[in-house]
């Protein structure tokens, strides 16, 4: 089995920054495992600007921000496998070595032995099921991030008349993006009395395009049998109960959900690491080490961050702590 000093799970902003930092702090033998076909993670579909003000002192798009890190990874000759999904991480009690099982097209299922593992799997969107919205189950219901991928990476328009549930940043960004593509965004409904995303996105993505933001409002029912034909919006009171008589039908062919992000911790939990119920991420020490010795976590897998710049900074720390951990052994 190949022995690696630091295996980094995920080649998005967190994984790349952690890898670079681990290298700068003296680790030679590093490997990034990335499930997509290229490095960059979710940044690759975030073609809007707003990235990098803290890190680079200038405003970049997502792919530009990612490219700066990819260049550094290549310059440092840090190896990475793309199209590679990690299936399992096991920690050996005595030796503290980790066995990482992964799969790709070239090697099939294979295993690596790692001194440290840095978890950088990012997060995923909360799906419709988690909301339990009653109604039919037609086509045309997407999470905002899936729609973003379809539009920005694949060049497809998911629909033309849109209602967005939830005012997370991806939802707000997609309200603008769909509008620019000629779709009509009829409403953004937010259950809470305040928007979920950044104020600058509320202004730049909704107000600038006259897209109504309906606060204290949620989707009570989904209509349409084959393709979605509309939603019933309803006002909710302070305790999240629908207020009778406030129902409003809005026709649409697409419902986008932007109702929160969940750190993606299947691997972490399966490894037996202690989890933090509140953040959805693993419990970590001040050195970003999980309860499994030598396994570190950073970025959105640890907790959902507002800015990628913060992810990069946290990941640099994780890389440094991981390097120190290896050197101490």
């Amino acid at each position: 089995m190949k022995r690696i000093e630091a295996v980094i799970v995920g080649g998005g902003p967190a994984g790349m920054a952690a890898a670079l930092s681990a290298r700068q702090n003296g680790l030679e033998n590093i490997l990034i495992l990335e499930r997509e076909e290229e490095l960059g993670g979710i940044l690759n579909q975030c073609i809007h600007t707003g990235f990098g003000l803290h890190t680079f002192g200038e405003e970049l798009t997502g792919p530009e921000y990612a490219a700066r890190y990819v260049e550094k990874i290549e310059k440092e000759k840090i190896p990475f496998y793309t199209g590679t999904t990690v299936l399992e991480i096991q920690s050996e009690e005595q030796s503290k070595l980790k066995t990482v099982t992964a799969v790709n097209r070239i090697q099939g299922v294979f295993q690596l032995q790692a001194d440290t593992v840095i978890l950088a799997m990012g997060c995923r969107e909360r799906p419709r099921g988690a909301l339990n919205i009653p109604g039919f189950r037609p086509a045309g219901i997407y999470s905002a991030g899936t729609a973003q991928r379809l539009v920005n990476r694949e060049g497809y328009l998911p629909g033309r008349e849109i209602v967005i549930l939830g005012s997370g940043d991806i939802g707000l960004i997609m309200a603008r993006r769909m509008t620019l593509e000629g779709a009509r965004v009829k409403a953004v409904a937010e259950r809470l009395p305040h928007p979920g995303g950044l104020m600058r996105n509320v202004v730049q993505c909704l107000e600038d395009y006259d897209i109504p933001l309906k606060l204290n409002c949620t989707v009570a029912e989904i209509h349409g049998r084959e393709r979605i034909e509309g939603v019933t919006l309803v006002q909710v009171d302070g305790e999240n109960r629908p207020v009778p008589g406030t129902e409003e039908f809005i026709s649409c062919d697409t419902l986008l959900l932007s109702v929160g992000l969940i750190p993606e911790n299947e691997l972490t939990a399966a490894m037996g690491a202690a989890m933090n119920e509140k953040t959805g991420g693993p419990m970590v020490s001040e050195t970003l080490e999980t309860s499994v010795p030598g396994v570190f976590a950073c970025g959105n897998v640890l907790h959902v961050h507002e800015l990628v710049d913060h992810v990069s900074r946290e990941a640099e720390e994780a890389g440094r702590f991981a390097a120190e951990w290896v050197k101490k052994r």
């Binding site: 070239i106 995923r124 009653p134 086509a139 033309r160």
Partner: protein, 482 residues
């Protein structure tokens, strides 16, 4: 001219087709949807009941008990996973304990084997996830679980492999008797057949009533369900029912063969035969009822909810057999619970009866076995390497929640009667069935469907008809004109 035309490619229609395909007969299954298993068969509890529920002597009791006995062998032949996990009917109130005894007695009379009455301690020992308030239970070790999509697809594939023809997207509009058989009029033209099997689920009364003056009537009864994440797996180990109430068997809690926990169903008669929408009241009732007897129900682990319609005939009995005033027209109507449990028995029952009429010889080469899609990650390292050499696509995970590879998805499309829709992929491989419910994998699955079927991606649907996934291309892309 077909020998037998079966209306409906649900689990019953496919079982009848599979059993009839043993004979030298021309079999055709017509289905209005774009895939098999699109009606009642796709949204039910996936339970193989032991057989103590139905009145002794009824067709339901007979088919259930026989079906349960035969299910294991059928699933082995068709490579379908079936787990005999056992069921518990639990009693929460001391004064209702005698009702358990009644169920037990009925079960014995129906021929159910292995039934046992348990006291409180025995119940909790067997099922520690139950509320401490439980008073006793009826334990039926012969009850089991299976995946209804898997069974239906397997029956259909096996029937097709043995020569049965499937006509999808074909909706029957009228049935006319003619000398020596029937003309079945469809949206795709007229089909002639000697005999008809009516396995049309909630529409079976419509077709029956086209040929018979002895009318039947089906009232769809909606059942709503919530599905919990595999993270909640282990909540219960058996299928757990509360004691039945007048209106139905009550809300059950059961593991699924894929390690999820399923809660449901409600029971509400509806007018709309397409009314598979969930309701706020229904979903609340599901969660509320389950909470009464499961110790700690993780309601936050719900990953999806759905509703199905039971094809309930007003006589509340299976309507099976040749229609008196319509020779050669065979009903499989009113197949509500325990319909899935009865599948092997109903299939054989119908096929035997029909074969007697047709007098066909048995095929010399009936292939009773069918292999399912191989789950790459469940294979041995040697098998994995071999499959990978065959097609490297087995090394790419497409559905990260259920760990489904590109190779499995391609296989689901390329098989006979292969998937043509996202739901088709989901039901054959489980891609899109996990906790993200297709959020990550659906764009890639659409792409694979489009390239394999040589279709433009924007024509790919969720489940046929007008359920298109995409509205078109974005502005200014080169492909906008293709």
């Amino acid at each position: 001219m077909y020998d037998v035309l079966i209306i409906g490619a649900g689990v019953i229609g496919c079982a009848a087709a599979r059993e009839l395909s043993r004979y030298e007969a021309g079999i055709c299954v017509v289905e209005r949807c774009s895939d098999v298993c699109e009606g009642t068969s796709k949204a039910n509890s996936g339970i193989v009941h032991a057989g103590y529920d139905a009145p002794t002597g009824s067709m339901k009791a007979r088919m259930n008990v026989t079906g349960n006995e035969k299910m294991e062998e059928l699933c082995r032949e068709l490579d379908v996973s079936f787990q005999r996990i056992g069921s518990l009917v639990i009693c929460m109130e001391e004064e209702r304990i005698p009702e358990l005894q009644k169920l037990y007695d009925r079960g014995i009379a129906n021929g159910v084997k292995g039934l046992r009455l348990l006291n409180r301690e025995e119940t909790l020992e067997l099922e520690p996830g139950l509320s401490e308030k439980v008073r006793g239970a009826l334990y039926a070790p012969s009850a089991g679980i299976l995946c209804p999509f898997e069974l239906t697809v397997a029956l259909a594939e096996n029937a097709a492999a043995n020569g049965a023809e499937f006509r999808l997207n074909t909706e029957v509009t009228d049935i006319v008797r003619e000398h020596g058989g029937y003309i079945v009029r469809t949206n795709q033209g007229d089909l002639r057949t000697r005999m008809v099997v009516n396995a049309a689920g909630v529409y079976a009364d419509v077709f029956h009533n086209m040929v018979s003056s002895d009318k039947i009537h089906i009232t769809p009864r909606k059942g709503e369900y919530c599905l919990l994440d595999t993270e909640a797996g282990g909540l219960v180990r058996h299928t757990v029912f509360p004691l039945p109430e007048k209106k139905g068997k009550g809300i059950l809690v059961t593991p699924t063969v894929h390690g999820n926990i399923l809660l449901g169903p409600t029971a509400a008669p509806v007018e709309d035969r397409e009314g598979v929408n969930t309701t706020k009241e229904g979903l609340e009732a599901v969660l509320h009822s389950a909470e009464q007897y499961v110790k700690e129900l993780p309601v936050r682990k719900v990953i999806t909810s759905f509703a199905g319609l039971r094809a309930s005939e007003d006589g509340r009995e299976f309507v099976l057999g040749e229609v008196k005033d319509a020779p050669g027209f065979f009903d499989a109507a009113g197949i509500e619970s325990p319909g899935l449990s009865s599948v092997p028995a109903i299939g054989e029952f119908l096929a035997e009866m029909i074969q007697k009429r047709g007098g066909w010889r048995a095929k010399e080469k009936f292939e009773s076995r069918r292999k399912g899609i191989r789950r790459f990650l469940e294979l041995t390292p040697e098998e994995q390497q071999e499959l990978l050499r065959e097609n490297p696509a087995y090394g790419t995970i497409v559905c990260r929640c259920e760990k489904i590879t590109e190779g499995e998805i391609l296989e689901a499309i390329r098989r006979p009667l292969g998937a043509t829709t996202l739901d088709g992929i989901k039901r054959r491989t489980r891609a899109g069935m996990g906790r993200c419910q297709g959020g990550f994998c659906s764009p890639r699955v659409m792409e694979l469907l489009a390239s394999e079927l040589h279709r433009a991606q924007e024509t790919i649907t969720k489940c046929g008809g007008n359920s298109r996934m995409l509205a078109g291309h974005i502005r200014g892309t080169d492909s906008e004109k293709d």
